[in-house]
């Protein structure tokens, strides 16, 4: 079974610590793939000055564990680390981090991508942006829903 770490947190995270944890005492993994999501200044046509992230406590952790478990069943993963922030964030801030290790790169690439695609459409987080026109809830995109199609068995 893969070693899995999942955290939903207000505070920032340090990817060098995460990376060190993935490598520590690890003689069997040849591949680490990681995704990091950052707050962009331009989104859906407006200049953003910051955002706040709301979630559904309890369900969030449950949904993330279900997504990671599914990835672990599909690919031979050894370690998975997933961190998602909530609360107030500024431009360029880190929002989300997903890292997986595996013996081989194909599994690591596919699993990391799979986890992010499902997180985007299945984990109960909502972004509210502060723009020059005031606050607005970010619209869900149909392309995020379509991104799931590539993972159908």
């Amino acid at each position: 079974m893969a070693e899995v770490y999942i955290s939903v947190q207000k505070h920032d995270f340090d990817i060098s610590h995460e990376y060190a944890t993935l490598r520590e005492d690890n003689r069997s993994d040849g591949a680490i793939v990681f995704f990091s999501g950052l707050v962009r200044e331009m989104n859906q046509g407006s200049k953003v000055s910051g955002l706040s992230l709301e979630h559904y406590p309890g369900m969030t952790e449950k949904a993330l564990h279900a997504i990671v478990d599914e990835a672990c069943q599909r690919w031979p993963l050894n370690r998975v680390r997933l961190i998602h922030r909530i609360g107030q964030l500024a431009i360029s801030d880190q929002i989300v981090f997903v890292a997986v290790t595996s013996s081989h790169r194909e599994a690591a690439f596919s699993a990391c991508h799979f986890i992010m695609d499902f997180l985007k459409s299945r984990a109960p987080f909502w972004k509210k942006e502060v723009t020059s026109d005031g606050e607005r809830w970010v619209e869900a995109l149909s392309k995020d829903q379509q991104a799931l199609n590539k993972w159908q068995a």
Binding site: G37, L53, E54, H55, Y56, G58, M59, K62, A63, A66, H84, I95, V96, M116, L119, K120, S121, R122, A123, P124, F125, W126, K127, K128, W137, V138, E139, A140, Q145
Partner: protein, 81 residues
């Protein structure tokens, strides 16, 4: 029974939760219909395309069953990541 709301839907309905008079067992579709009756001016925000439902903190479909003690929530399509 109690229904929770999150994010834009909570703000639109101006409720974090509501107590609905629904006979159990029910389905998500039945609860959705009851919500549309309770908030007649917000039926569009409550339809299946605009509001997802979760039962016991798991995404549910329209025919998912709801029993006594289940936690039920409605919210907009998610936008994390």
């Amino acid at each position: 029974m109690k229904v929770l709301f999150f994010a834009a839907l909570r703000e639109t309905l101006q409720h974090e939760q509501v107590e609905l008079p629904v006979a159990l067992p029910a389905t998500v579709a039945l609860i959705r219909a009851a919500l549309c009756e309770y908030f007649p001016q917000h039926q569009q925000n409550l339809n299946a395309g605009n509001a997802l439902a979760a039962v016991n903190q798991t995404l549910a479909t329209e025919d998912s069953e709801i029993n006594e003690g289940d936690e039920v929530a409605f919210f907009p399509p998610v936008t994390g990541g």
